[in-house]
Subunit: 350 residues, 3 copies
Amino acid sequence: MTKPYFFEAEAPLTVAQIVSLTGATPRTGAQSDRVIRDIAALDRAGPADLAFLESPDFAAQAPTSHAGACFTSDRFAAEFPAAVTVLISTHPYRDFVAIARKLFPSALRPNSLAGVTGIAPSATVHPSARLEANVTIDPGAVIGPEAEIGARTTIGANAVIGPRVRIGRDSAVGAGASASNALIGDRVIIHPGCRIGQDGFGFVPSPDGHIKVPQVGRVIIQHDVEVGANTTIDRGANRDTVIGEGTKIDNLNQIAHNVMIGRHCLLAGHVGLSGSVTLGDYVMLGGQVGIADGLTIGDGAQIAAKSGVMHDVPAGAKWVGAPAMAAREFFRQTALLKRLASDRGQGTRS
Amino acid sequence: MTKPYFFEAEAPLTVAQIVSLTGATPRTGAQSDRVIRDIAALDRAGPADLAFLESPDFAAQAPTSHAGACFTSDRFAAEFPAAVTVLISTHPYRDFVAIARKLFPSALRPNSLAGVTGIAPSATVHPSARLEANVTIDPGAVIGPEAEIGARTTIGANAVIGPRVRIGRDSAVGAGASASNALIGDRVIIHPGCRIGQDGFGFVPSPDGHIKVPQVGRVIIQHDVEVGANTTIDRGANRDTVIGEGTKIDNLNQIAHNVMIGRHCLLAGHVGLSGSVTLGDYVMLGGQVGIADGLTIGDGAQIAAKSGVMHDVPAGAKWVGAPAMAAREFFRQTALLKRLASDRGQGTRS
Amino acid sequence: MTKPYFFEAEAPLTVAQIVSLTGATPRTGAQSDRVIRDIAALDRAGPADLAFLESPDFAAQAPTSHAGACFTSDRFAAEFPAAVTVLISTHPYRDFVAIARKLFPSALRPNSLAGVTGIAPSATVHPSARLEANVTIDPGAVIGPEAEIGARTTIGANAVIGPRVRIGRDSAVGAGASASNALIGDRVIIHPGCRIGQDGFGFVPSPDGHIKVPQVGRVIIQHDVEVGANTTIDRGANRDTVIGEGTKIDNLNQIAHNVMIGRHCLLAGHVGLSGSVTLGDYVMLGGQVGIADGLTIGDGAQIAAKSGVMHDVPAGAKWVGAPAMAAREFFRQTALLKRLASDRGQGTRS
């Protein structure tokens, strides 16, 4: 990158080390003693940077690249100038990521934004809260009564952790986030501004005013979950809201009360899950997807961006549309309507 | 619930008391002296828990239920094991909620997350602010000049209340929320991270850069309103933004400048109301609905999830789609397109 | 407005001054010495208020207006009562805005919500941070190591500015917002609760759990940008996320890693831009628009509210729908389907 202003590689690596770590095959002429200090996109990379080229969409950038080293497939290896150390791989992007993780280990988890080690003087930690070793509490953070924070976890500036909330080890809570009525696992990342554990949206509609339903469940967030910035996860009403192990949730999602999300799901931005929705394992939801109350989405199902799901989705299915349907059906309908409109347009105008 | 970790029933009730409070009819063999200490979903309930069964979708759970007591309709009363005290009701869910409210009165309104009574030492309350009796100000909260907070209202940790803002009695503002240029009523709940009263999105487009329009109106939030987590309500430009009495707004809604919402409306998650939209009373908007600038939605209208409204909606209408139309018309179009695609599919493939 | 409770005109203007500033033509009988102290919507304006009438939709309000003065076009000038000083203009709204900006100069940029001048005692400013003259830091705000804040910039209550972040002059960061890994220009407005610079959503999907991709780029926000409340802007992965000069972003937008937004774009509420999307200059996106990964939207393109863009959009194009297409095509398809459904309905029912 042109200016490594915020992140600097903690431990630069030689090409020889990179080859050893990934098993990539250097192109003839590769400089095994070249030192790599940073990563960059292919069109921006300089002589100390590592890049990758996997998709043909970006192949035109290869001949003019100034990258120090670049992972790519056999197919594109000859396209680079001689000055680029080309590293041939069957999985260029995966290898690039593996090296990026070696170069920037501290970028794998948010850290204190205030240069704090330990507990900042302006943090408010209730005397009954229990903190394990090497916890970082940034300025202005508030830790409520009987809350428990595991070893090496960071609580960001002005974040708020409610009474009895438990957070595991090696986790991070971002600036200004809040969590209440929640049990949170190890290696969990809660990004800034997340709202976890507030009341779900429960009312008995009535002509005299809607009657509030007490929400007395919890939020359970299992290990290795990541929750994006300003996402909201409501606590359960009469059971728990559960986010399964390894699931990654992007920014500005709304997860309603009693939702059960399985393991290793991926939810893109602005997804909305209504009350009591159940997702299986390895479900993938595109951006701005909405799922109606109480539905079940089977293991491995994929729902395209902007879809509105009105029925249960079988395991492994790919659905699209609002209302959502099997992708093949959706594209058949879309194509038909396009063709009909085109025919009519010709008929009436030509 | 398996572990009442965050909420415990303040006042357990006997079955006899529950019958007396609701008028439900105990099934033969009901144990009137059984003590109910918690609520739970039917499939999770144990001997001290109260559950309910109203929808046939969950009737299969009845025969294996371990609930201490369960409200249900006459239709399902015989499905439960003898050990369950069955309480027959014409409105099982409503009666369940009534008892839940008795068991958990403190769950009806968010409380201090920091175990605070009165004003936390790390709160910043401007000397000219006026606080009535029994106000709770959590750590890190900021109360601006001449703000007024009514009796028994709680301001959450790190929340920010701007100059001259007035908040009524028995209200609650969640952690990290902010309010400026706003007048807020009694028994209002503002969930964590809400943003109330900032500038609306007003610009005069111009090829030399868009010119910012001063936004000098207010936000008026009437009594008994609930606003979900991370929802944004902009102040008016040249009039007020108004949220009518008893209206409930879910998480991550965007309410633009000059919007007028009537009484007792229900807005689900991710709803977006453009500038100067008017909603009547008892309007219901599904999740991810968007309504274009300046439109009027009549009393009691219902707009289905994900709809995009481009025209005024008459009172009592049910609209669906993007662009939204009367539900009957939408489903007619949807069904037709499905049938046509199916016919073509057969014609060209079989 | 009925009660100028939060904003009062700093410098009232006479009609003569208003005429002089805008070049409007007073209707016969206009009182050039009338003093204007506030602005209001036409139906609410009183004798000291300035209003405007530009759209025929509101012309019916003219005959009963009590406004002190009103900008309007020649077409509507005769519709007002004699007591209203009518100011005839070819651009009534633009002139109204110009005068509103004169009356309320302090409303053009958010100010301290806590009545603070300088650095509030409860703010936490790292000793290595550099603040220029006349910076305001509200209570509870946290400024990290080596951060730089330009002259006359305001950092709102409980906002968090991370290490090495640079913010220019005459900017404002709202209450509870956070920024890290970001370089921010002059005259930028970041509204409350914005999340800038956190990790983008980058994972290598894997059956053994998704592998987190280090995100080591920055967020670059150029001069005169405005970012709405609770909007999230992720930092780049291997390049920068860039928001171009003069672009205005509404509330609750999600801007993913590596997005490049050009100059003077307008993005309405709930817009979601996936990773590596590129917008040209003067692009306009309606509310709840979503754009898929890596797409390019050409200069001056306009995408209607709720559209889901699946393909690159040419400069100047107007697209609608999900999946989005040229507006003319979309409306042709919509009209055809409506007609077909209507024909069938008649055929089978009448």
